[in-house]
Symmetry: C2
Subunit: 264 residues, 2 copies
């Protein structure tokens, strides 16, 4: 008996999250990235299907390399998918890679590591062309103190303190493999410079990167000593950490799978 050949397709997508209510489909009429992608796939194949992503991103958060997968009976050759989908998508979503993967591949469960990047512009003026992607902090910050604070984050920890109380998770232990702060050069004309907090970990709790950044900014402002980051971790209490940093500075940078992850 003939059976349609089902394929599991994995895609990498970049999006500017500014105009969306996050990645995941929401109740009501909220615009989400997932809906846009599923609609574009339906337009192309006629199949009404659900995609699985490596994880959700909040409203206003961007992705350079979000990964999702779905199974399809469509016979469209794999090399045609990107251009065909992009033709049906708004310009703030770009599918940049499509490949056939084994049926057992699952974008969330198969993920080994993720990298997030948070960008702050420090100094007098914002960069008007990056305003959707950089959190502007006019007052100067103690970068070295922030770097020092980041060292407490690295390793396997219970990150309860850096997790939104609205989480549904029960285990708060995650491993952060790398935590760095990279400074771009000072831009004379703007009187400001951008810096990036880049975290790579086994996984991240709800709002974890944004709460870490919000707390680190207090370290940079001199409101807390660097060592407070360690104390906050140990307290296992969201109330001990700083505020959740603004969404628009955050970008899901890359998701790593088996055989792709760089060494710890």
């Amino acid at each position: 008996m003939w059976r349609p050949r089902v394929r599991n397709i994995r895609m990498t997508v970049s999006y500017d999250g500014t105009a969306y209510n996050g990645f995941q489909t929401q109740p009501g009429n909220l615009r989400t990235i997932q809906d846009q992608l599923e609609q574009a796939i339906e337009q192309l194949t006629g199949e009404r299907l659900k995609i699985t992503a490596s994880g959700r991103t909040d409203a206003g958060v961007h992705a350079r390399g979000q990964v999702f997968n779905f199974t399809t009976e469509s016979l469209i050759p794999i090399e045609r998918w990107c251009m065909a989908l992009n033709g049906g998508l708004a310009k703030d979503i770009v599918v940049r890679d499509a490949r056939i993967v084994p049926m057992e591949f699952h974008s969330r469960r198969s993920a080994k590591r993720k990298t997030y990047r948070y960008t702050v512009r420090c100094g007098r003026n914002p960069d008007v062309f990056k305003r959707h992607m950089e959190f502007h902090h006019p007052k100067s910050l103690d970068i070295e103190a922030m770097r020092e604070g980041l060292r407490y984050i690295v390793g396997e920890h219970d990150f309860s303190s850096f997790c939104s109380a609205r989480t549904t998770k029960t285990s708060f232990v995650r491993t952060v493999y790398e935590a760095k702060l990279i400074c771009d050069p000072y831009e004379e004309e703007l009187g400001s410079y951008a810096f990036h907090i880049v975290l790579t970990g086994s996984g991240f709790l709800y709002n974890m990167v944004r709460i870490i950044v919000g707390t680190l900014l207090q370290v940079g402002e001199g409101k807390r000593p660097s060592s407070d980051i360690g104390a906050v971790l140990e307290a296992k209490s969201r109330r001990r950490a700083g505020p959740t940093a603004m969404a628009h500075g955050l970008m899901l940078w890359e998701v790593f799978y088996e055989d792709e992850a760089p060494g710890p």
Copy 2:
């Protein structure tokens, strides 16, 4: 008798032109950068005045360093102006410098040189975060042929061929001091790279940069030899040149005044 002290203030402004119908005030209810700036100044000082810019920019065209000036009786200290105006402006317009200049300074008439930059992204995928600022050209281009073509542009020429027929100018002679093409590195993940055509000249006719770029792209596509740029110049006819390149790739980069201009 007491007379108010009138000052001439010169400002440098960056803007993302995406949401505007160009710099200059238009008849009807069109949103323009000039209107936004004049409204912000009125809000701050109570003065209803007209600003003078170095020149207009078309709908969708951006500026990194547009310059304008105006005279005011306001007593607000000069170092306060930037932050005060930015507080009243939308986030896609940022005043980055304010200084007091001699009364005879005139943003347009005193300008000695201007630099424009046009950005093309060549290859498979656009960069979603720069989509408003890069013209995407999926097919590959002969960069060396375009560089060769740019050499004909340098010098004092009658640029009639590279001027919109809708101009009101009567002299078409301008000097281009420098014309270069700068390539950014190829970005593996996007399968594309950006390059910038940077022109510095005594002044530019209506649509001049965009028509030069539109014609150069035809050289890059192999539709014209590089030497055609010279032939088009000599023809002094708009019809001999290529199409006007899309507005969103263009940025007014910098305006130079006496004692500021780099040597030719």
